[in-house]
């Protein structure tokens, strides 16, 4: 699988190599698409974070532009490109959700992000969405006619509960599917694996939708005045943006 050519000595190198096997100079990046193999990891979703970090540090130590200050222009460029790509790869794989998104992308599924923002409600959420919208309408109406903000806040909290429950339930499902993918990774048939990927993609779409609902509730809370003293981790912070995932080529 020789797909890289060393610009220094002309020798061929496997696509996942970082340095020329013949002259040991850093290789130009070429068109690499797989963060897992770039980091020397198998395409699995349950990752040892410690191992991932160590890989990242090791490779940073090999590629970083700091160490190519005196090198030739082409090596400096290669160092810059490899470092950038390494940083992208680490950022994407560190977060479980962006890791799944990257897996879906390299397995050839359309990005769940591309459907983000469309009005279509995922079937699994129809009931919750219907109920929530009804409640929100009532709360807004009451607010506009001068309802007591602490009562309204309580109602918002109550409306939020089933969504929170759904979200937790959902997270467990994503974890279970991720584990299933890892089990299937070596043995299962293509169709079985594809079914797992489709299910994962469905979950990510739902997840986006749930997060949007929670944001809507937060916005309503903010309209009611000073921030509620109850701190809810995970909703105000969208986490590391998985957006860059789609961009590595």
């Amino acid at each position: 699988m020789t797909t890289l050519e060393c610009r220094n000595c002309g020798a061929g190198a496997p696509v996942d190599d970082h340095f020329c096997p013949q002259c040991s100079r850093i290789l130009a990046l070429g068109r690499h698409g797989d963060f897992f193999s770039f980091l020397g990891l198998s395409r699995k979703l349950v990752i040892d974070q410690g191992q991932l970090e160590r890989r990242f540090r090791d490779l940073s130590r090999q590629f970083h532009p700091d160490y190519f200050y005196n090198a030739s222009p082409s090596e400096r460029l290669a160092s810059l490109e490899r470092s950038s790509y390494l940083n992208d790869a680490y950022r994407a794989l560190r977060n479980p959700i962006s890791r799944i998104e990257h897996l879906l992308a390299i397995e050839g599924l359309p990005s769940p992000k591309s459907e983000n923002g469309t009005a279509k409600v995922p079937p699994a959420l129809l009931e919750q969405v219907f109920e929530l919208n009804e409640q929100l309408d009532e709360i807004r109406e009451s607010r506009e006619s001068g309802g007591d903000s602490s009562v309204l806040r309580e109602r918002l909290e109550a409306a939020r509960k089933p969504i929170d429950v759904k979200r937790e339930e959902h997270e467990r499902e994503v974890e279970a599917l991720s584990a299933r993918w890892d089990e299937q990774f070596e043995s299962a048939t293509g169709a079985e694996k594809r079914a797992t990927l489709d299910a994962l993609r469905e979950r990510l779409l739902e997840r986006n939708y749930i997060n949007n609902l929670l944001t809507t509730i937060d916005r309503e809370c903010a309209v009611l005045g000073p921030q509620s003293p109850v701190h809810r981790p995970g909703t105000s912070d969208p986490g590391p943006e998985p957006k860059s995932v789609d961009r590595g080529l």
């Binding site: 540090r57 130590r61 532009p65 810059l80 961009r247 080529l249």
Partner: protein, 658 residues
């Protein structure tokens, strides 16, 4: 190849350091002072003063003296209007362009002014290496630090300043990260470090994870407009409010914003003039539309000096006096009063700290060490606040003024030696995006992404046979382009004529290890690389930098001459003072009678008079020759004095011993 140094180019003070035998050291002047005030003053003869000399001129020539220029780096006139109204020098520029600072008949950009400070540091380092007997003492490369929260334009302006000073800028490094490197030298342990950096004009918070010698920044945040300067300004305003009104009656006509008073004799002395062509009522050259402060600039500077001294006192004392002798003003201020006054400012650092922790996904209790950097962290209220924020007392073993320069020197050493024990992985502080339909920003590289970082975006055309596309690049966290920082506008040209929507133009954004952006583009269907025309929104074009370089060479000889003259004068003054002190001794007549040769006193007096006369002229060589002559004439006297001193000291000792 010449020498490599690390430079902390600060708002108030700057420093230069280098690594010797693996240990970073600050380069100091003869009196052990490592700080070079970041002050530049245009002399009446057209030459420039830098550092301490320029700082003294804040009081005597305020309208010709620039300080805190770092606040203007990479900024436009609209960003700095508030600041400018309080400054004694003229600040102007075209709307949407770089700030220009007017000193007498010269008009300079912030990078040009910073270049003077950098040249002074370069000179200081070269003098040092020459004194050390180094054969190759020229300093030609440097690592320069910037606040972590500096945007692309501010970083680029700093790099331009380095170029203008004749330095190859090896790397732009973030100040808090540099500080962590300096700390990391001694403490090779692992853990989470928070660096709280409150300097003269900027605030940064960086959260780092240190492991196996890799210093990885997890998140950074800050405020490029918050620092000791703001504390000083509050105190100046306090004094101004308390000064009796009668003192400024004569200036009352200038009190109102937009006053059209044109008084050439006054104009040069007036504080806080802002000129800008954005004002509807201005003429060519933009010298109107002033916001005049109600007092002459020298008074403002005298007040500023007095409040800074009081501020320093209050780091240790519970109360002190603000004394402005020139205005007959004196006021007691307690630390409690001071803290009440500055609390709102200091509390503005809390939100960035919380945001950085949230971005790093950490709770305050997970921070293993908090480190204080920057002179303003000497304020006890700041220390208390940091202790409260992290629930632990912060580290400040290294001098908070010097730690950044030391770290810059370490990074410079890493770059040239290729040593791999330590590695710094920094992040970009602000998200990078492009303007899309409706003025909305589409983010391409998120904030706190480890750098180098890259991103791609696909573009196409909207009309048939369209051959160019305009792209507006922005930096910031807000959703609308209007609320973000405009970095540059690009025009993609040379797109092959095709039906609308068919071209697939890939634009690639690359942020390098300096945190500076570059852009490349190609049309994927035809693989034609596009040419990109860069128009930095608040920066200098390459051509402008080239032109300034040429101009600075033209001025360089005059500047060197001015500098040598100052040095000669300083040396002469030292010798004159020492000689006069000896001659004035009450026992001089006895000494002369006992130990000096006949006529020796007269020879000394003659040499002294000759040197004093030479001091009144601009001839450096004459001053130097007369200094040598006086030195020579007093050599014997100095020996006599020293021997007597030793004898007296020994005698004193004998008396005690007996």
């Amino acid at each position: 190849m010449g020498k490599v140094v690390g430079i902390d180019l600060g708002t108030t003070n700057s420093l230069v350091a280098y690594v010797h035998d693996g240990v970073p050291r600050v380069i100091r002047d003869g009196s052990g002072d490592g700080l070079v005030p970041s002050v530049v003053s245009l002399g009446e003869d057209g030459t420039f003063f830098v550092g301490r000399e320029a700082q003294r001129r804040l009081l005597t020539a305020p309208s010709r003296t620039v300080y805190s220029v770092k606040r203007f780096m990479g900024r436009g006139i609209d960003d700095v209007r508030d600041d400018a109204s309080l400054l004694p020098f003229r600040v102007g520029g075209e709307p949407g362009g770089v700030v220009r600072i007017g000193l007498a008949d010269r008009e300079l950009t912030p990078p040009e002014i910073s270049a003077f400070v950098l040249r002074e540091l370069k000179q200081r380092a070269e003098d040092h290496f020459q004194e050390q007997g180094e054969f190759d003492f020229e300093v030609d490369r440097a690592v320069i630090t910037v606040p972590a929260y500096f945007n692309d334009a501010q970083r680029t302006a700093t790099r331009d300043a380095g170029r203008l000073a004749g330095l190859e800028v090896l790397r732009i490094v973030n100040e808090p990260t540099a500080a962590s490197l300096a700390y990391g030298l001694d403490r090779r342990d692992r853990g989470i470090i928070a660096v709280y950096d409150l300097g003269g004009g900027t605030f940064d918070i960086s959260i780092l994870k240190v492991e196996d010698g890799v210093f990885q920044v997890l998140a950074t945040n800050g405020d490029t407009h918050l620092g000791g300067d703001d504390i000083d300004r509050l105190l100046v305003e306090l004094v101004l409010a308390e000064l009796p009104r009668q003192n400024d009656e004569s200036k009352e006509q200038h009190d109102n914003d937009g006053s059209q008073k044109q008084d050439p004799s006054y104009a040069d002395e007036a504080a806080g003039q802002v000129w800008s062509s954005s004002r509807a009522d201005q003429g060519p050259g933009g010298a109107v539309g002033r916001v005049l402060f109600s007092r002459p600039a020298d008074q403002i500077q005298a007040i500023r000096k007095a409040v800074i001294e009081a501020k320093f006192d209050l780091s240790d004392a519970d109360e002190t006096d603000i004394r402005v002798d020139a205005l007959g003003y004196r006021r007691r201020i307690t630390r409690t009063e001071f803290e009440q006054l500055i609390r709102p400012l200091v509390e503005r650092t809390i939100q960035p700290v919380r945001q950085a922790l949230a971005d790093a996904g950490l709770e305050p209790s997970e921070v293993d060490e908090a480190v204080l950097v920057g002179g303003s962290t000497r304020v006890p209220l700041v220390r208390r606040l940091v202790s409260e924020l992290f629930g632990r007392s912060p580290h400040s073993e290294l001098n908070p003024d010097e730690v950044v320069a030391l770290g810059a020197a370490v990074q410079a050493d890493i770059l040239i030696s290729g040593r791999r024990e330590m590695l710094l992985l920094d992040v970009t502080p602000l998200s990078l995006g492009i303007e899309t339909m409706g003025g909305v920003v589409s983010k391409i590289i998120m904030r706190n992404s480890t750098i180098p970082a890259s991103g791609r975006e696909m573009f196409t055309t909207g009309v048939d046979n369209q051959t160019s596309v305009d792209i507006h690049v922005l930096q910031g966290e807000r959703e609308l382009a209007a609320d973000c920082r405009s970095l540059a506008r690009f025009k993609l040209r040379g797109i092959p004529p095709m039906p609308a929507g068919l071209p697939r133009i890939e634009v690639r954004f690359q942020i390098d290890a300096n945190g500076i952006l570059s852009v490349a583009a190609s049309e994927l269907r035809t693989s034609i690389a596009q040419t990109i025309e860069v128009k930095p929104s608040y920066g200098l074009t390459d051509q402008e930098v080239e032109r300034m370089l040429i101009e600075s060479f033209e001025h360089a000889q005059a500047d060197v001459d001015a500098r040598l003259l100052i040095e000669a004068r300083n040396e002469a003054e030292t010798v004159i003072n020492a000689t006069e002190k000896s001659l004035r001794r009450p026992d001089f007549a006895d000494i002369a009678a006992a130990d000096l040769q006949p006529g020796e006193t007269e020879r000394i007096e003659a040499a002294l008079a000759a040197l004093k006369q030479a001091m009144g002229r601009e001839d450096r060589d004459l001053i130097r020759d007369e200094t040598h002559a006086l030195n020579h004439a007093t050599q014997h006297l100095a020996e006599v004095m020293m021997n007597r001193g030793v004898r007296e000291a020994l005698a004193g000792k004998n008396v005690k011993d007996v």
